[in-house]
Subunit: 267 residues, 2 copies
């Protein structure tokens, strides 16, 4: 039997999703609690991808094989996990899936939202971990223009890190980039098949540079075409980034639109 | 010279405002950073009141005597403190005040807001530390009706704890109680001269009981009149409570109205 699990988490206390030695990760905490509920049997969950330290999620997906005993229904498992997990991790749903289901390779796409807080006033102690506070005034129109150069299938070598080490194919396809404004915040939502390591945060660094008026929107196209990481600007911090959803069918992917600030979505 | 300091804090990591041995408090963290900026001279700040563990603040006020050397302007002190304080504490302003100013006794009133999250969906990992999630449907109209019995000058013995120990006068005056709804949340704002220890959280416990339909609104008046703590219901948890402001003039107090969810106020 195989279960698919959908998870929301506030990433501030974690060194990201994926297990790492000597650092608290979301995956590790969930595996530990699952193991506790299944009489200390070791359980490994396989996520749809990774998120970096401080990055949040509204809809991370993962899968695992529940041990044959004790039998715990998905409904009861959600309730039990949410009772024993820390407040920062919330299980949205668990459902039985086909044994062939693969949380990562079956995904047709992902939506990430990056939240920028406009100059004044600052976000304060409540929202500061969920946005990137920019000290210069941002022009959302320039952000919109610049982001359109990134739509489609491109070699994103300029916006990736550690490509040499991993020798990954740097070609990725971005379906859509939406720029939405809510109160004092600008949200940039990226919908694509998959993304390179730190790609969205690196894209954001350059998009912010343009939005601040420090470069023309077409600069983004020039940097993209150069395939040279040194041309791109600084990587934006992880705390502004939210994995909104992982899609397993095209219909859900196409319908996705940010309707409110990410942290305002209910679970 | 005397400085008045206005502070916002996310109370989750703290054992409240006031210094306690072996536990992190907001006061202690600010005093430590002030001392650091003033060449390790000991500085004591005097708050307008206390807040319990997990309680948040948008506008706590306090005062302290800055050492004569080094001279740091209020403007620079705000900047410097916000650079070195943890994200959970934010200094909103510092201004020079009269030497006679007393953050506690000069206050003409305080506004506290208690945030309730209505039944479904649950608040999730982002907002769970900033509201109390009620499993039964709440009727804001019943809340409004019940709260009106509390307006005015009353003996609040039924809604206080540890009165025997402190032998405090249990009479307090509540000017106004507002019930506002935002999205999935109900906010109850108490404006009064001052409040007894845990008084608002105890009032909320009983108001919630009424709002859930478990008692008639007039029950609140009966409990109040009984002056018997054992008649009141459970104390609501601290994480739903926000100290919104401490007022030093009647005009500002009268004008106060909650315009959005507390954590959505900018700093």
């Amino acid at each position: 039997m195989k279960y698919k699990i959908k998870i929301a988490y506030e990433g501030t206390p974690y060194a990201g999703w994926q297990n790492q030695p000597n650092r608290a990760t979301v995956q590790e905490v969930i595996e530990e609690k699952l193991s506790y509920l299944y009489a200390n049997q070791k359980i490994t969950i396989r996520g749809a991808g990774r998120t970096d330290a401080g990055v949040h999620a509204l809809g991370m997906s993962a899968s695992f094989y529940p041990p044959s005993k004790p039998i715990i229904s998905p409904y009861k498992l959600v309730k039990a996990l949410n009772c024993i997990l820390p407040n920062s991790i919330y299980i949205k749903s668990i459902q039985e899936v086909d044994l062939e289901f693969d949380a990562r390779f079956d995904a047709v796409g992902k939506a990430y939202t990056y939240v920028l807080c406009k100059k004044n006033p600052p976000p304060g102690p409540f929202l500061c971990n969920w946005c990137y506070h920019i000290t210069d005034n941002l022009d959302p129109e320039k952000l919109r223009k610049a982001s359109q150069y990134l739509i489609g299938k491109h070699d994103f070598s300029s916006f990736a890190v550690a490509l040499n080490k991993t020798k990954k194919n740097p070609v990725r396809k971005i379906y859509r980039i939406d720029v939405d404004e809510f109160e004092n915040f600008i949200c940039v939502t990226f919908i694509g098949k998959s993304f390179l390591y730190k790609m969205i945060r690196t894209l954001m660094g350059t998009l912010i540079h343009v939005a601040e008026g420090k470069a023309d929107p077409v600069e983004v196209k020039k940097i993209l075409d150069s395939k040279d990481r040194s041309k791109a600007h600084v990587t934006a911090p992880g705390n502004g980034l939210f994995l909104m959803d992982v899609f397993y069918d095209d219909e859900t992917l196409k319908k996705f639109h940010l309707s409110r600030l990410p942290f305002f979505y209910s679970c």
